[in-house]
């Protein structure tokens, strides 16, 4: 708690924290109260601009945009957070193990990881989605697997360089177990780049989810997510730009919040910056 307050006392932490808090609030409550039914269609009110009845206008099926954005926040944010969480957890475990012990296990795992990296992440996710079938947790699993290699590579790289540091050797000389040394001395010191990657990844995932939706493999319609709203708006961008701009703004807003907060978190966790 004291940590959190200290993060919020930094300018980027405060701004990022407020933005992120707002997004989380919407994500948690958006689906509960919306002005209209987010999936309810009204063919008499298609492509309407902002007005008193529809605060942010309507889309091609006459669905209320504000309601859809509010409802979509929950899905988008959950999917992104879960994906990043799974990818980072998996990547840290595999990467730390490979980097610290090296040897044949590392060689084989890294060959597989590098093979995975040869595919564009989205292609990999696509293939996985076809196998799993479209639903929310399928998206999480598919995207997490697609982004796992980059986390693994990053963690392995930093661990590889940190294990040669003399303070790691000193820990071994003090009689500490390998596991303790890894948890206490190696991983905390690889946190900086990891946090930067995770926050950036959060943005990739939000967009990747929209790409999957676009190809009909993401969270299935008519359930709204910021990603599939952006995708659906594509055909109407020239005439009705707000259809794309509004979900785009939401994504940017969430992304900026996460990144600012992530930076503050990284600085806070590093004693050299205090």
């Amino acid at each position: 708690m004291k940590r959190l307050l200290r993060i919020l006392s930094r300018p980027n932490g405060l701004i990022g924290g407020l933005m992120l808090g707002f997004v989380l609030l919407i994500a948690a409550t958006g689906a509960v109260y919306t002005p209209y039914d987010p999936t309810g269609q009204d063919y008499l009110a298609r492509f309407e601009g902002a007005s008193a009845t529809h605060l942010l206008g309507t889309d091609m099926f006459g669905r209320d945009l504000l309601s859809r954005l509010l409802a979509g926040a929950g899905v988008s944010v959950t999917v992104s957070f879960l994906t990043v969480l799974v990818a980072v957890t998996g990547g840290v475990i595999i990467g730390a193990f490979c980097g610290y012990w090296r040897g044949w296990f590392d060689r084989i795992v890294m060959m597989v990881i590098e093979a995975l990296m040869a595919f564009p992440g989205i292609l990999l996710a696509l293939a996985l989605m076809v196998a799993i079938g479209p639903n929310k947790y399928g998206v999480v699993l598919a995207l997490a697997l697609a982004y796992l290699p980059s986390v693994t590579r990053l963690v392995r790289g930093t661990v590889l360089s940190l294990r040669e540091k003399e303070y790691v050797e000193a820990s071994v000389a003090l009689g500490n177990s390998t596991f303790y040394t890894l948890i206490r001395h190696v991983l905390p010191n690889s946190l900086g780049p990891l946090i930067v990657l995770s926050t950036t990844m959060f943005g990739w995932v939000l967009l990747a989810e929209s790409s999957l939706s676009f190809l009909g493999l993401g969270v299935p319609p008519p359930a709204p997510t910021w990603g599939n709203m952006l995708a659906e708006a594509r055909g109407y961008l020239m005439r009705f730009p707000w259809l794309g701009i509004l979900p785009g703004l939401c994504i940017s807003f969430a992304l900026l919040g996460v990144n600012l907060f992530g930076d503050a978190l990284r600085d806070e966790l590093d004693p050299r910056n205090n």
């Binding site: 003090l174 500490n176 905390p188 050299r272």
Partner: protein, 591 residues
């Protein structure tokens, strides 16, 4: 030009260099005055942060931003460099003032052949044709004693050792026949023997062309050997200046006196040697070999091995300070780590208090580790940056189950006190400490478990001279108080002489000579030991002030039929240690 003989080559007048920051600017050099005459070697001496590098760089107007010259003038051959624009300045850099940096590896471009880099300057600053440029470069390489200059031109920098690279660097700077050479710690990264070679060559080449040198250094021994004039700097101020021999004979400023007093002051009182020589060995190693794997470029290919330690036996006795000297790459650090199982030896045995430790694993290994500790060379990387001092020191006690929390807390406070840091340091983080303070924390961490053996791997070579002296004194005090045995690894013969009871000389993974300290320094036998000792400039305190002690030791003659072992020529052949006097062993060829 006509007044050349009367105007000095370089004149720095009331020079101020500042780092202008928004809140307040920091002065790096304050009102510096310095004159270098023709054909002089002028040394600028000081510890890190004294501003000596800034002073040198200001001559080329190559200050690292945001540092700027904030007053005073730099006159080169009577011309004020401040009045010159960038283009005129470029004409002076290289052609008239050359610079040699500390790291030859980074100051030569690794992607270009040596020849190309040598020709570059001449093409830029002279109108010689291709053939002449080549001839000039070859002549210069010959002058710096590069064996095969023609071949050297075709090679890449990484194919040469550090010393050779620094010679190439000297050659590339001197091809332009500059009038002034700025040498910023040119040999700090090099070993003693190589250092002597490089500096001798530099002095000769510079003398041949009548150029002057501004030699930046922290090593007073070097200064005594090579410099005509000395400027001593402290925290941006010039505190003393004058002819080298005069300053060494009768230093006046307290800082100069302190610097000189910080030098290791010769052998310690005798008598201790025989005392420890009879004691039981605490840590015994027999025929230790450590191999490094060089992975094959092919998957599943055969890995090759490099022998970092090639068969070493030694005894570390109870309460003894055993010195281990050797140049970089001799395997001394690897040996130190192998003795306490931070590296697993490929062959050989290590026993501690008579019990084998190589077979241990799991908790029994962890228990024995409490008794075998290490202090590393670089205090900047040996402390976890994310832990505070109290946490760092307390970590050593994780495996003392009997100690309660408050006992551990007390022990931390006690250790902090023992290493001369107050309790206020407990909550500091490593980045808030100076190099010397960090090394104190590292020592406290190693000693908190009251180990029987401490391996000190070059514990002071990353520190300034005055701090170095403090840490060495501390180590001595702690050894008397806690009574541990210490393997003191160092490349600095002066430090070893003043600190250790016995010394091992290591070269190419093997022990060349082993003797009680005073005996080794008075009567070295092996040719390698002699070479090593001759290379190190030692200042000794005599009645007439500090004097450079130059030695020309030669190997002692052997009984007929015996030959000294030379690892450079006898690769793979066997070696035997022969006792030439009591406790004095020398490596001979196995006959």
């Amino acid at each position: 030009m006509n007044s050349m003989s009367s105007t000095p080559l370089l004149q720095i007048r009331d020079l101020n260099i500042v780092f202008p920051f928004r809140k307040r600017s920091i002065t790096a050099v304050h009102k510096a005055n310095l004159t270098i005459g023709h054909g002089q070697i002028h040394a600028v001496v000081g510890e890190s942060g004294s501003g000596k590098t800034m002073l040198a760089r200001s001559v080329l107007k190559l200050l690292p931003p945001p540092a700027t010259i904030a007053g005073g003038s730099v006159l080169f051959r009577g011309r004020d460099l401040a009045s010159l624009d960038d283009r005129q300045m470029r004409a002076i850099r290289g052609a008239e003032i050359g610079m040699i940096f500390q790291e030859p590896l980074v100051s030569l471009n690794p992607a270009l052949r040596v020849g190309k880099q040598l020709f570059e300057g001449l093409r830029l600053h002279s109108d010689l044709d291709k053939g002449e440029i080549r001839e000039r470069a070859i002549a210069m390489l010959r002058a710096v004693r590069i064996p095969d200059p023609e071949d050297c031109l075709k090679r890449f920098p990484h194919e040469f050792s550090g010393g050779m690279r620094q010679r190439i660097m000297i050659a590339s700077v001197m091809t332009l026949r500059p009038k002034l050479l700025l040498a910023d710690e040119p040999t700090t990264a090099l070993d003693a023997i190589v250092q002597k070679d490089v500096l001798d060559i530099m002095r000769d080449v510079v003398g041949e062309f009548g150029a002057s040198v501004m030699l930046i250094s922290h090593d007073l021994g070097l200064v005594a050997r090579y410099a005509d004039q000395v400027t001593v700097m402290e925290k941006g101020l010039i505190v003393e200046q004058g002819p080298a021999d005069e300053i060494l004979r009768a230093p006046t400023h307290p800082y100069t006196i302190k610097l000189l007093a910080s030098l290791p002051h010769g052998p310690q009182e005798k008598g201790r040697v025989s005392e420890t020589a009879e004691k039981v060995p605490l840590l015994t190693a027999r025929d230790i070999e450590v191999h490094y794997e060089i992975p094959s470029p092919w998957p599943f290919g055969r890995t090759r091995h490099k022998r970092a330690v090639a068969g070493v036996s030694l005894d570390l006795r109870e309460g003894e300070m055993l010195g281990l000297v050797g140049e970089s790459g001799s395997g001394k650090s690897t040996l130190g780590r192998a003795l306490i199982r931070l590296k697993n030896p490929t062959n050989g045995t290590v026993s501690f208090r008579g019990k084998d430790i190589l077979g241990l694993s799991g908790s029994s290994l962890r228990t024995v580790r409490r008794d075998l500790q290490i202090v590393f060379q670089d205090p900047y990387s040996s402390l976890d940056p994310r832990m505070n001092v109290a946490q760092l020191i307390a970590e050593g006690m994780r495996h003392l189950p009997e100690a309660t929390r408050s006992e551990k807390h007390e022990r931390v406070a006690e250790m902090l006190d023992a290493v001369g840091l107050g309790e206020i340091y407990a909550s500091r983080f490593p980045h808030e400490l100076s190099g010397g303070q960090r090394q104190r924390v590292a020592i406290a961490r190693a000693l908190v478990t009251r180990p029987a053996v401490v391996v000190a791997d070059e514990p002071v070579s990353a520190l300034d001279v005055t701090v170095q002296a403090q840490i060495l004194t501390l180590l001595q005090q702690l050894r008397e108080r806690f009574g541990f045995s210490c393997l003191f690894i160092s490349h600095d013969l002066g430090v070893v002489e003043s600190l250790c009871d016995r010394v091992l000389v290591m070269y190419q993974g093997r022990i060349m000579e082993q003797a009680p300290t005073s005996r080794l320094f008075e009567q070295p036998h092996h040719p390698y030991t002699c070479r090593l000792m001759n290379a190190v400039p030692v200042l000794s305190n005599t009645e007439q002030g500090y004097r450079l002690r130059e030695t020309a030791l030669t190997a002692q003659p052997l009984v007929q039929g015996d030959d000294y072992f030379d690892p450079m020529t006898d690769r793979g052949s066997k070696v035997r240690l022969q006792e030439v006097a009591r406790n004095h062993f020398v490596a001979l060829q196995h006959g």
